[in-house]
Symmetry: C2
Subunit: 109 residues, 2 copies
DNA sequence: TTTTAATACATCGTATTACAAGGGTTCGTG
DNA sequence: CACGAACCCTTGTAATACGATGTATTAAAA
């Protein structure tokens, strides 16, 4: 998968991940790599600013976790607004999918 | 459909349209609006620079048509490179779709 | 006939975005 | 102790989407 394909969809990807369970940043990069069969690596220069952005928009919140003997990790968790936004993005995604389908099939003149 | 959803997918959309048959710019905006049930309007400030960009990249070529009594229109047509690029983008799109699916389903830990 | 709306192409300035490159700390293992 | 992996972050740059704006031409309405 070309990295270009991620453009414009970073937030949707991250929201989808975080919706499942709380994750910390570094973990997200590893998970994405695994889920894409090593095809896609999200650079940290993309990830961390994106997380900040989403937190600023109120879609996620974060908390530090530092259990005994473990190093600190910054976990991100979903807000209600984030869930709303995710649903919106999923709908948009479906609409775009449908639009592309129609375009390919020359649905009308 | 929110306009935001188009970000990063403009080229894919336009290539999909042009792959079906030669089209001129203004026609593309109308067709997209129709295909999306009036939900999406591609602004001309988005469209024309995008067409120029794709022509520069060799994905499409253009020709002017000015039949007797009709006003001039600039038609765009697909190149072989454009078809290759379209296939590449379609594959990427499918990969992203799969990735999102796996993210939602908590496919792994 | 004058005005208005639609058709058709284009550019410019701005805000946003993705990312490579870099910086830093902490921890485990050889 | 050295080294790499785990973890977080910022800065600068290039590309992108789009609103605003400009210019002609043609069709329709007033």
């Amino acid at each position: 998968m070309d990295k270009e394909m991620m453009k414009g969809n970073i937030d949707l990807i991250l929201l989808s991940l975080i919706a499942e369970r709380d994750l910390y940043g570094y973990e997200m990069t590893k998970k994405l790599k695994r889920l894409s069969d090593e095809a896609y690596s999200m650079s940290e220069g993309t990830l961390y600013p994106a997380l900040k952005r989403m937190e600023r928009k109120g879609w996620v919140t974060s908390y530090w976790s530092a259990p005994e003997g473990e190093r600190r990790k910054k976990y991100y968790t979903m807000t209600n607004e984030g869930e709303t936004e995710l649903e919106r993005k999923q709908k948009d995604w479906a609409s775009l999918h449908s639009l592309l389908h129609k375009a390919r099939k020359s649905y009308d003149t």
